[in-house]
């Protein structure tokens, strides 16, 4: 099991590398750059631009610095120095810094590092009020809501099979799974914010100014919107799984032994029915992660998803790389979790 686990986790590394290369190439193929976006009317002094490029290393070749390599060769440098000269390109430098935990300075937010923007809040506030903390809070709340709604709904629908309750829950599941969540979010905003005026249209800060505690009333609607497709999916799956287990022989045996209905349901039925459900928590998490782009943009929440979209339009190269790799890491880890859970539950898969 442990070699299997290690192999699956190591698999994340090439995935992240590929994501980094592709993002880097597309980003630099894009017209425009960090210094000119939005200020199309204002042209800076070319000398100043040159200084800026030098300061941030943007004047170097993208991948391999053949110029420095040739120069080092004529100077008769040793192999280590030659390699160093060859790898003095933007991408190798970025990777090298990344391995040291440094994602570089932001090119558009003056004097701030990518690490700091993503993972730290302003100086006098605790780190969990950062953009990462915001995204994580919404995601965890959504996971909680999805489990609390999806599982009971699926279980009850199966136990009350072919009753009005069953049809109601199937209806909810189909709606939640068929209608995209940002469209549902639009309906929620119109209903709860515009018509009923229960919440403001623009979601207020997720972390309270004074106490640094989460403002749950602000976080509720975004989390609910994010949770709905996952809840619907879990409900469908749980229902099918419980229905399947209900007909098995061991349930009949348990009943004929005279066990109480409660024990039959909890100990015999659910324990077995929830195994396949456990395996989809991984993809559900991946869904919540990508869903956060949509939800943060819809509700105007200052999280990493919004940062990603904004940094692309501002050509903030280091921020684009940082946020892309962050999301790619989360999604890759969620996928690894799926394989690990499968491997844990089904020994045959581990052998492959």
């Amino acid at each position: 099991m442990s070699t299997y686990l290690i192999r699956r986790i190591l698999y994340v590394i090439p995935v992240l590398f590929i994501v980094a290369v592709v993002t880097f190439v597309i980003m630099h193929a894009t017209p425009g750059g960090p210094w000119d976006a939005e200020a199309s009317k204002r042209t800076s002094d070319p000398l100043f631009l040159e200084k800026l490029n030098q300061r941030y290393g943007l004047d170097k070749p993208l991948f391999l610095n053949t110029y420095a390599f040739a120069q080092a060769k004529t100077n008769g440098a040793n192999p280590a120095e030659l390699a160093q000269a060859l790898l003095d390109g933007q991408f190798p430098n970025y990777l090298w810094n990344l391995l040291h935990g440094d994602m570089g300075p932001s090119l558009r937010m003056k004097g701030r590092d990518v690490n700091e923007v993503m993972f730290f809040s302003s100086t006098d506030r605790p780190f969990w009020t950062s953009r990462f903390g915001t995204t994580a809070l919404i995601g965890l709340l959504a996971l909680g809501i999805a489990l609390l709604v999806g599982l009971p709904l699926g279980i009850l629908a199966a136990l009350r099979h072919n009753t009005i309750f069953d049809y109601g829950s199937l209806f909810f599941a189909t709606i939640g799974y068929g209608i995209p969540n940002f469209v549902l979010g639009v309906f929620f905003i119109i209903i709860f914010a515009v018509w009923l005026e229960w919440v403001p249209v623009i979601t207020p800060a997720i972390w309270m100014e004074d106490s640094n505690m989460p403002n749950l009333s602000a976080a509720f609607l975004p989390s609910l919107t994010l949770a709905i497709p996952t809840a619907a999916y879990l409900a469908r799956l749980t229902r099918a799984s419980v229905l399947e287990v209900m007909g098995r022989d061991f349930i009949r045996t348990a009943r004929s032994k005279g066990l109480s209905e409660r024990i039959v349901v909890i100990r015999h039925m659910l324990r077995n029915a929830l195994i396949p459900v456990a395996t989809v928590i991984g993809p559900a998490l991946a869904g919540l992660v990508t869903g956060s782009f949509i939800i943060e943009n819809l509700f105007g929440i200052n999280g990493i998803g919004r940062l990603f979209v904004e940094s692309i339009s501002r050509r903030d190269y280091s921020m684009i790389m940082g946020t892309t790799l962050f999301y790619a890491l989360l999604i890759a880890l969620a996928n690894v979790m799926v394989d690990v859970v499968y491997g844990f539950l089904d020994p045959r898969i581990r052998m492959k």
Partner: protein, 331 residues
């Protein structure tokens, strides 16, 4: 006496079975699909939107770019009376107008066109590309298979939405991004990401089918590889391909709507004779700014997207049940 009665009953039902018109797999599946009420409803809704899309210039009161009533206020939906003559609804504009004076109903009808095209064309491209690669990979085996499968691993690893956002924002302002108002770029991005699933599915089908006796028999009588692939293996793996195709369409429509919503969808047309003038995603983006002033600017495209997504889900579920009755009810 009772015995002979039951025998004749059995005979009757048996002869009924024998006298049934001969059907094939596809006719059977079609009948099962027609019995599924949700699917039929879904097909009706899709048909309705398809008609809207095809006949948009005839049905829509105005073009999407026309400004029939220039104003700088939001005209409300027709049944809303605000007391102010400049904003009170007017039946000439059933769903009201935006601040420029575009008719919302016309915009929504023209948007259907974009959504339908975005749903169907990438689906055809993806299925074609994925099937060809899957067939080659499964049939050739060896290093070809290995290479193609590693390629699918790479594409599979890249988070879809990140890829769409990066590609659309990067290449929108280049000549490629300008083709067909940006639709070409969107089709390309969708195809690059989604062929992988189809290729893996087809490869799996080929691997299991090529060991079957009927393939062996075909080989015995001297059928060429191409013939075996196209006449024997492909038709037998069509059912799962069709189900995947049915789910690719709403996926593409959703992607377009989301990209439009964050301002990265198709480029708004400037030529009133353009074939694709606006999209639902773009309308959502504008509607969001007018959420208090004119909720229908947001509501109308949102309802359309919800309806069409739900319809495709119904049809997709129905197709899966119809083509593979064994799978029915197991999610």
């Amino acid at each position: 006496m009772t015995d002979s009665a039951s025998t004749s009953k059995v005979d009757a039902s048996f002869s009924q079975l024998l006298s049934r018109k001969p059907t094939n797999l596809w006719q059977d599946a079609w009948h099962r699909l027609l019995k599924n009420r949700a699917s039929v409803l879904g097909m009706c809704v899709i048909g309705f939107f398809a008609l809207l899309a095809i006949f948009a210039p005839v049905i829509a009161p105005y073009t999407a770019l026309a400004v029939p009533l220039p104003s700088n206020t939001l005209r409300q939906a027709a049944w809303v009376n605000t007391g102010n003559p400049a904003t009170t609804g007017d039946w000439r504009f059933p769903l009201g107008t935006d601040t420029v004076g575009h008719d919302v109903l016309s915009q929504v009808i023209w948007g259907a066109r974009t959504s339908m095209v975005v749903g169907f064309i990438p689906m055809v491209l993806i299925i074609t590309l994925g099937t060809i690669i899957g067939l080659i990979s499964g049939f050739a085996g060896g290093w070809v298979d290995n290479f193609l499968m590693r390629l699918t691993d790479v594409v599979y690893a890249f988070p879809d939405l990140l890829f769409f956002i990066i590609v659309m924002s990067a290449l929108r302002d280049t000549p490629i991004g300008a083709l067909l108002n940006g639709l070409f770029l969107l089709f390309a991005a969708l195809s690059i990401v989604n062929w992988v699933g189809v290729a893996r599915l087809v490869r799996g089908q080929v691997l299991s089918l090529k060991e079957k006796e009927f393939v062996e028999a075909a080989r015995m009588v001297g059928a060429s590889n191409a013939r075996i692939m196209l006449r024997h293996i492909l038709p037998n793996s069509l059912a799962p391909i069709i189900v995947v195709a049915a789910f690719l369409i709403p996926g593409a429509i959703l992607t377009e709507a989301f990209l439009g919503f964050i301002g990265l969808g198709i480029r708004p047309a400037s030529d009133p004779s353009a074939i694709f003038q606006t999209s639902w995603g773009m309308l959502l983006l504008w509607g969001k700014d007018a959420i208090r002033g004119q909720p229908w600017l947001l509501f109308a495209p949102a309802i359309c997207i919800a309806l069409i997504m739900l319809s495709f889900t119904f049809v997709g579920d129905g197709l899966r049940d119809a083509l593979d009755p064994m799978m029915k009810g197991t999610n």
